[in-house]
Symmetry: C2
Subunit: 591 residues, 2 copies
């Protein structure tokens, strides 16, 4: 697929020097990710495209351009491409997200709007598409493939079949099918998934994968099924196996999960890195603002020992190939003029960001206005929850008093979202299961979508909080209201705070509300800009820490994958405790 | 674009080991062109696809396959892909061509049927497509873009506009637009060419280029115009510039033009070779039989100093990317099972050739039958030439006796097809221009297509023959009857020999016919198999040498680019002498 110029004949004339170019960037060290070389050059831009590159920056006809930017010997690299991410995870609208990431040099994101799709269905995807229009960056859309993540194991706010996917594939900036998380459905050739994949194959769109810990014959089957990318690679052996198997390995450094180092350790011995890409997956506003976006991921790869040009290629040309875009991700005639000037190739803080040949950020600040726009969906309260009571959060035992053995979802590591199944013996008082010890907590997943009023209850170990109730409507991927709590009273308080404001995150300790992070759009997204949202998010993190979540870099997102039944081995849903690999429910009480 | 399995669900089961695979190739050193590694592995194949790769060749469940081939420690490499070629140049039918190249390990060719298209139009392309069906190799078709090569400068047997290209794009194995030779039409945005390119862009098919000696702003404009590959790169500076500019450089070793060494010398200093591919362009039967096909081109790259894995990647994965085929050119689950076993990575003589998982050649011999088929076009005599006389081959001077200054097409090098414009003073006797010296010859290009009876006459220098007449209906791309001769009498004899037999090549010396190589199908193709054709072709080469063509490796094809008005600077056509870059005719007599 190619991004086409508005008027190719004019572009040809500009290339030939017959009409003036819009811009020439002179005196740069061009980082050529196609050849791996760095050399002096002048770059001529017309109508958003690179019209010509003059080597050796001598003798260029600078008078053939309307504007000259002196690169002052800086490196010129292609604009960075995020191979996989969810804008919703920034908790910002597409427009506010753009304001946040452009100054860091991210000019293209491949975004999967499946968070909002799980809440608002087709309307949610159409909103993300529409709100991403006319921006000084490229927000490409992969169509959510798994809404809900695993049918039958949870109730989300929408359900997508081949017909919905086909309908969405007509949107302008749709480029592929988003992370096919239900990897078992692919591996076992389930009809619904096969028909969705078939729709995309017929349109020649690419299939983004998601295959955590999948290896051996299972991995082979997944690849034969179609999806051939994965951003869920966590250990080095897995990384090497996937790369060797022809998968595009999208090494991820999100706000919660940092995989770049392990992936690089796994693959650093190979000779060709063509199938290695980089992505952020989920980065929240505070992180974007203060740490960075794709430039931070590239930086991280370089710190791990990756050669800078290879790392930059992994965030540009390799990704463009992965997503089948022919003229993006490199600096050459006919390519889109998304360009960054950087002082050095390890820090990657762009002094200039050009999108489609236009200067859009300078020294960390936007230089173009992104006009405010309002959309109807931003005004809708999506919290459809019946009136809750203390009783909804109580686990009733089959005995009045004594002990019971319960199944427990245990986190072995504070920094991983994967879990194990264990059991615990717990006391029962007046028919209610009670907790013992700081490490165990109750969990409730309260369906918040129209037409459902299910609540799944369970016990979690090693989550990290030591007291109080932590609630969130950001809870991948169904985004049901998820609460980790010590007492039903605290749970009720935390839940009601979110129902009132249209969703978000809340923390309660000893009967008082510590903080509410309001996310009124779909219960996922704030309408605030990065700076204000980051402040709000910092307060929320403090509240999280006050509940004991101190053992991780970013406590905000600890809760958001608790109810994601595609991450092995055990997850919660509004229907109960789920064995992810067996696709079965686990009863509350053990034998 | 992906090559799809017939039954994906069954392939998934085979990958999982739930049903037996068709084949397992054990005990091989897998050459992984994606990572650049070589390691021991077993490869499981089902229904033409790689279902699974087991590393370390230990513990593979060999009982899950119906057939086991012991690789005996040999290297397993992907089947070779020819990035650009014309089957017509082998002078064999698609089916006989397949018999010739498969034993050398060429499993896929990207073929441009523009020779036959120039003679027989749409019917010619349909014939090549149909005759390439059901073969144990993949003959992908690029649609001829320039029929005739340069409109207005010659008359061919057909004319293709956007409508013809659109019609042909519906054929099954069409993958792109073939070499866009009329590079000036691209660079200057001529309507006809833009509309042809537009048809292909809309279908997402790739655009094969052709840009000899094009550099600087002209090259930039060509790339902005769309085509982004080139197999016409002859010198090292040109090779580096093209690679840096994002072009796929298809380094060519044809039967006449060997560019691989120069291209490699140009680019050997870069770090990434992703955009370097290899091709044969034009290889005739004798050459294919006794020297090789793509394996010979890869071998040549390795002899120049290219690392073998990179060279193999250039003839497999890189090419698959160039032509937008996602699951071809590597050995990984989900990829097409085109595989070669080779004893060593420098000679590349395959002991086993697997096409779609089926053994199709063993130790240089086909192991499958390619049934003979006949097609109506094979019976048609395409020579439409009026009755010729001596007079048709005489250049008449404006004076009765004395001297005239004529324009001359001069070949500066016996091994290059490019030419220069010079002049010569020649004697005139009885109103007829006469030759002086062995180095000058007459040239006639006699239109042989229905509706035209034009004959272009001129003088050539440095062609290489010292006496006699050499005639050919293989004469790119219009394939008009082209004759280089000393006397009108010899020319007439050589021409008539070809008109009688439906076309081919002939040599006449001192009034006697030395040999006729008959090519009755479109005047381009023999109906003989490689072995018989090679013998015939050897006799023709002897005849060529008898006319003085001794200074080159392969004299057979010296004449075939004499009338190709896209190779700078001067060429002949049936309309006269052509200035290629100016797209103008040059008058016979100089001022």
């Amino acid at each position: 697929m190619k991004i086409q110029p508005k008027n190719k004949k004019q572009l040809l004339k500009a290339a030939l020097g017959e009409i003036p170019c819009d811009l020439v960037i002179t005196n740069v060290q061009l980082v050529n990710v196609i050849t791996g070389e760095i050399y002096p050059a002048d770059i001529f831009v017309y109508d958003g495209f690179i019209a010509h590159v003059e080597y050796q920056n001598v003798g260029s006809q600078l008078d053939t351009a309307r504007e000259v930017v002196d690169g002052q010997g800086r490196y010129l690299i292609p604009g960075l491409i995020d191979a996989h991410e969810h804008i919703e995870s920034s908790m910002m609208t597409p427009r506010n997200f753009a304001k946040g990431v452009i100054p860091h040099g991210t000019t293209t994101v491949v975004t999967d709007p499946h968070e909002i799709a799980n809440v608002c269905g087709l309307e949610g995807v159409r909103y993300m598409h529409q709100a991403g229009d006319d921006l000084p960056m490229r927000q490409l859309i992969d169509i959510p493939s798994c809404v809900p993540a695993v049918p039958g194991l949870e109730n989300a706010g929408a359900e997508f079949f081949a017909a919905e996917v086909e309908e969405l594939s007509g949107l302008d900036r749709v480029i592929g099918l988003a992370e096919v998380m239900d990897f078992l459905a692919v591996i076992h050739g389930e009809d619904r998934m096969m028909s969705i994949i078939d729709v995309m194959d017929k349109k020649g769109l690419y299939l983004q994968g998601h295959a955590p810990y999948v290896s051996g014959r299972m991995l082979s089957a997944y690849l034969c099924g179609g999806p051939n990318t994965c951003h869920e690679t966590r250990d080095r052996k897995e990384a090497l196996e996937k790369l060797r198997s022809g998968m595009f390995v999208d090494a991820r450094d999100s706000s919660i999960t940092k995989n770049v180092q392990e992936v690089y350790e796994g693959v650093k011995g190979v000779r060709f890195f063509d199938h290695l890409c980089l992505c952020t997956d989920d980065r929240e506003a505070d992180d974007i603002l203060h740490v960075g976006h794709m430039n931070d991921v590239v930086r991280s790869a370089i710190r791990c020992g990756m050669d800078p040009v290879t790392a930059i290629k992994s965030a540009t040309l390799n990704t463009a190939r992965e997503i089948h875009l022919e003229n993006l991700g490199a600096i050459a005639p006919g390519y889109v003029a998304d360009l960054l000037l950087v002082d050095d190739l390890t820090e990657l803080k762009p002094s200039h960001v050009f999108f489609g040949g236009k200067l859009v950020a300078r020294d960390g600040k936007l230089t173009v206005e992104i006009p405010h726009r309002e959309y109807p969906l931003e005004k809708v309260n999506t919290m459809c929850v019946k009136e809750l009571s203390r009783e909804d959060f109580v686990i009733h035992a089959p005995v009045e008093n004594g002990t019971v053995t319960v199944h427990v979802m245990e986190y072995p590591d504070l920094n991983l979202s994967s879990t194990l199944l264990t059991t615990a013996q717990l006391p029962v008082k007046n028919g209610e299961v009670c907790l013992e010890g700081e490490d165990l907590k109750f969990v409730a997943v309260v369906n918040r979508h129209k037409g459902h009023d299910t609540i799944g209850l369970g016990i979690v170990k090693g989550f990290g909080t030591t007291c109080g109730a932590l609630a969130s409507t950001v809870s991948h991927d169904s985004h049901n209201l998820t609460i980790v709590y010590d007492t039903p009273e605290n749970a009720l308080l935390a839940a009601n705070a979110l129902i009132r404001c249209g969703g978000g995150m809340s923390a309660v300790k000893d009967g008082s509300l510590l903080h509410v992070l309001e996310l009124p759009l779909a219960g996922l997204i704030s309408l605030k800009e990065a700076k204000d949202l980051a402040e709000d998010s910092q307060k929320m993190k403090e509240a999280n820490r006050a509940l004991g979540l101190t053992g991780m870099e970013n406590p905000l997102l600890r809760i958001v994958t608790l109810a994601l039944p595609v991450i092995p081995n055990i997850k919660m849903s509004d229907l109960g405790m789920v064995d992810v690999l067996k696709k079965e429910f686990i009863p509350m009480f053990a034998e």
